[in-house]
Amino acid sequence: MAELTAVIASTHHPFYYKASTAPPEAAPPFAAEWVRKVEAFRETLTRAEPDVLLMVGSDHFHQLWLDNMPQFLVGNAEQYDANWYNEEREFSLPRMRMQGDRDLSGYILRNGLDAGFDLAFSNELRIDHSVTCPIITLRPQNDLPIVPVYTNIFAPPLPQPKRFVELGRMLRQLVESWPSDKKVAIIGTGHLSLELGGPRQFGPHGPDAEFDARAVEWIANGDLEGCLSEVTLDSLHAPGNATHGFMDFMLMMGVAGENAKADYVDTYDLFHTMEAYFTWYPNGAPA
């Protein structure tokens, strides 16, 4: 069976690419420390020596649209082109292409459907910065096949938070039962408190520092019980109007498991939204 060698949850900040590639004289003052933190975080994935990346993110109205909106979708393609004109325009993100893993995609779809999750699929999926940001931060050489999983945290009506947790639990079970000798890392990105297109956007810090502190505690301690007892679709409006992206962190808590303490935790208090980085090693930290 395949081995789950790392579980990684992260924010995805589309400004990282530009901040980290700017010449020193043009780089913003927070860039050097940001790069240092990201490179330390990257090392936690490198150490796990993965062969395949299962990547959880959310399309930002690029390919998935309101005339036909899936709640949970699994990429099922040989390759994935990535990044879009408006991401190039606003964030200077480069066009990219990833290899897929059809065997893992097919296994997740067949067995996920049989386990009671009615997953949508796509045979031609152009992915966006929710998946390419963690490639840029965690695996910039972009040399591993991926299977993208998209969740709807964006276009209400949304699934309940507990469904994200349940999907995370199932994805772990499916990876661990996949008949393969490969090492798999599951990487998911979401947000802490975040406001987009509202009065609290682009402040000197994230819109709700108190929520962020509680959220980091929940994730770092695997406190699913505490998190699920407080987080609802309604409650997530209060910390910021784009905070429903936190449900992708809840999905990753489902992958990591109840009360699973993260082996690596780091945060960076930036303008607009706080960065947060977590790694779990399900089978113990690699040597």
């Binding site: 309101l66 879009w84 408006n86 606003e90 987009l196 297109g197 009065p199 409006h237």
Partner: protein, 120 residues
Amino acid sequence: MSKYLVNKFLFTVDRDPVLVERYRDDPRGTVTWWEEERANHLLSCAAGEASTWLAFEDEEREALATHDYATLFGLGAHPFLTLTLFIAMFERDYDEPLGFQLQYAKNLAHFSLPYADITT
């Protein structure tokens, strides 16, 4: 309310560099043309398979025709779509980094929780 159609306008303009410039330069003309010619296109279908019933409410049409992103926010347009398109059109007019984004926030400062429902 036709929040869906407002979102469809923002979405289809945002992804087309020519339309972004056209909407920046001639908002009312672009909205009128779009509602007549594009509003009923089914995006993933052949041109002949159009819808027949989609139209803006007067308030929505006027807000789009006047670049009034604060009113769009109050009507429940998807804030990510509005923000992304308006950054594309107006960020260039500000000297400071994030100058437009901060002005945008200021122009929405009179809104408090709960914000307009964005469910479509």
